[in-house]
Structures are given as C-alpha cells and as structure tokens.
C-alpha cells in the first residue's frame, strides 16, 4: 500500500496544484519537454507548431493508461537515459542536422512516443492516490503551457548568443541526466 500522495508534494493548492508543482519539483518530465522544445526550435517549423499539443496530449494519454497499472513501473533509469541522450543531441545541435536527415513526422512521432512513455511512468506512480486524476490533468496543463511559452520565447531565428545558449542548456540537461543515472544505479528509485 502506497502512502497518501507519496509522489506529490502537497502545495496546499489541491491535487491540481500538486500536479502542476510536480512538474517542477520532480523535474524529469520538465527536462524532457525542455529538451524536445530545444530540439524543435533548432530545426524545422512544422514540428515546432504542433509540439505543445502533441506533447501534452500524449503525456496525458500515457498518464491515464498508467493510472490503471497495478504497480509503479520501474522506468526511471530508461527515462533518465532518454533525457540524457536528448540533452546530448541538443548540445551537438546543428552539427547533427537531425532535421535534414529525418522527416518531421518521424520526429513528431518520436516526441509523442516519449511523452507517452513519461506519462505512463508518472501515471503509474500516482495510481491509487486520492486526487490522482486531477493531479495528472494539472500536470498535463502545465506541460502544455510551459511548452507553448518556451516555443514562443525561443522561436527562431536565433542570434548567435542564443543559439549557443540553447546548446549549453542541452549540455546541462545531459550532465544532470548523467549524474541522475549514477544515483539510480546506486539506489534505484
């Protein structure tokens, strides 16, 4: 039996607020969406335009499915590895020419798949808790809002300093992910 809201930090704002706060206080999902946004703004337009909707809906769909899972899925390690890889792709940036090599639909589908997986993990960690559905909806709304804001704020064309800044942010995500992989290998969460 899991403790009440063991995976939610009580903000006093109810399950909605707790769900929104979860995005910041347990930031693996946040790192995923930031890394995907950075990849998107480094590349093509069609992918960028649909990302906010696709990410939040896929995450919510995965989360809903996760609520039906009887036990918490032990996916922290692969999820962290994926975020680390995305951070590295962002830090390598234009050198990879990811958007030239891959079709936009492939990238969008991959982003949706990742969001689905992360949502599934989050949903399974909240399953059985009171207010889990509201928390899940709250986090999905936060994902949509933050993604849309980031996409607007970081819309290309980028001045040289910002293009470098995006790559630095990717390297920071990769570094945090690497450290987290170490923690997970020591004590699986």
């Amino acid at each position: 039996m899991r403790g009440p809201l063991a995976h939610l930090v009580p903000t006093g704002l109810g399950p909605w607020g707790d769900g929104m706060a979860r995005l910041v206080l347990q930031p693996l999902d946040l790192l995923l969406l930031v890394a995907l946004v950075l990849l998107a703004v480094q590349g093509g337009r069609p992918w960028r335009d649909r990302l906010a909707l696709v990410l939040s809906l896929s995450w919510l769909l995965g989360g809903g499915a996760g609520l039906g899972v009887p036990a918490e899925l032990p996916l922290a390690l692969p999820c962290t590895a994926l975020v680390t890889t995305l951070g590295m792709l962002v830090s390598l940036g234009p050198k990879l020419r990811l958007h030239e090599r891959l079709d936009e639909r492939v990238l969008l589908t991959a982003a949706a798949g990742l969001a689905l997986l992360f949502g599934l993990t989050a949903g399974s960690s909240l399953a059985g808790h009171g207010g889990a559905i509201e928390a899940l909806l709250g986090e999905a709304v936060a994902i949509a809002v933050i993604t849309a804001l980031l996409l607007m704020a970081l819309a290309p064309p980028h001045p040289r300093w910002l293009a470098l800044g995006l790559r630095v942010a990717g390297s920071w995500i990769a570094a945090s992910g690497l450290l987290m992989l170490g923690w997970l290998s020591r004590q699986p969460l």
Binding site: T11, G12, R167, W172
Partner: protein, 209 residues
C-alpha cells in the same frame, strides 16, 4: 488644452481596480500554502546550487575555465563551457559507480593552479589540447563534488542545480574575461589568473601535506 491641474485629473477614482487586491492575495496565498509543505525537493535544489559556490577549490577553477575561454577567444570561449558540464558529470557518474580515481584532491588543486597560470601567461594552445586539459580536470571535479548528495535531498534537483551553478560560474569567468576589451582590462584578467593560481597552489599544498 486640457493640461490643467483641475480636480478631474487628480481625483481619487470611485471604484478601485480589483487588480491590486488580487495581486496581494496571489502573493500571500502561496506563502500560506507552502507553510505546511514538504520542502525536501526545494532543499535538494538549494543544496545542489550552493555546493559549487561554497567550495573555494571548485569555484575558482570553474571561474578559471570561463576566464581561459575568454583569453582563448572563439570557438574555445563557448566550447569549453559547453563541454565541461557533461564531462564533469561523467566524473560524478564514475564516483557513483564506485570507480576509483586516484589523486582526486591533487587533481582539483592542480586544475586551479594550471588554469590560473594559463590565464596569467595568456597561454593559447591548440583547441584540442585546451579542451583535453579542461576535460581532464572536469573529471576530477565531478568525481569529488558531483556525488555529494545530502541525505534526503532530491537527486535530480540536486544534480540539475549543481550543473546550473557550475555553468553560471563559467559565465562569471567569461564575463570577467570580457574586461580584456577595456583599457587595463587585460592586466586585470591576468591578475585574476594569478589569484586563481595562488588558490590552486594553496590547495595543492594542503592536498600533498
């Protein structure tokens, strides 16, 4: 022309806008809510952010990376800070996997000394060599500092904050290095390099004692 000081201009509005009370409520409400909240995750972030800043050996070396990047100019200016965090994290990962690294304290002290001297004498090696030097020292820093998670702190928040603080220290070094564009700035940057080297020397003496 309607620019007079008549009562219509300065009169108190009959109906106050609902915005200020709403703002006050918005500012006060979270404080009440957080009063009973579990702040452990936030604690992880604060601990991670303060760790690189509070350790003098780590801090001066990180500033020196930025300073040396500024001395070397582009592309090293941005390449060194870009490469440092992942390599440092790799060092942290090695520590967490309990892979031993001999002479960690000596390596950290040497990083301050060597990079301080590079800045002091404005040494400009090829880019690959500069990157190799910085990457080697990054592994030592990561091995020593990246794996010091306080009990109960949230590991990812701690790691993220640790990396962000380290990156900001690089930025401080780069901004200090940009002083070179001003008259007398070059000497100031070299002086900063001398300071870093002295701190490194002091830590080296302690590490070898």
């Amino acid at each position: 022309m309607g620019q007079g000081w008549g009562p219509s201009r300065w009169a108190v509005p009959r109906r106050l806008s609902p915005l200020p009370p709403a703002l006050v409520a918005a500012v006060l409400a979270p404080a009440a809510a957080w009063a009973h909240a579990d702040l452990q995750p936030g604690g992880g972030f604060v601990a991670g952010f303060l760790h690189p800043i509070s350790g003098l050996d780590h801090g001066v070396a990180m500033v020196a990376v930025g300073l040396w990047g500024a001395v070397l100019g582009p592309p090293a200016l941005w390449l060194l800070p870009l490469a440092f965090p992942p390599v440092m994290a790799l060092g942290g990962l090695l520590a967490l996997l309990e892979v031993p690294l001999p002479g960690v304290e000596v390596g950290i002290a040497l990083s301050g000394l060597v990079m301080g001297l590079m800045v002091l004498f404005e040494v400009k090696p090829p880019l690959w060599l500069a990157a190799l030097i910085v990457a080697t020292f990054a592994v030592f820093h990561g091995h020593a500092h990246g794996a010091e998670l306080p009990a109960g702190a949230h590991a990812l928040l701690y790691s993220l904050a640790f990396v962000i603080a380290t990156g900001l220290l690089h930025l401080v070094g780069i901004l200090l290095g940009e002083v070179r564009r001003w008259p007398g700035g070059r000497a100031l940057v070299r002086l900063a390099g001398a300071g870093v080297a002295l701190v490194g020397l002091w830590f080296l003496e302690r590490a070898l004692a």
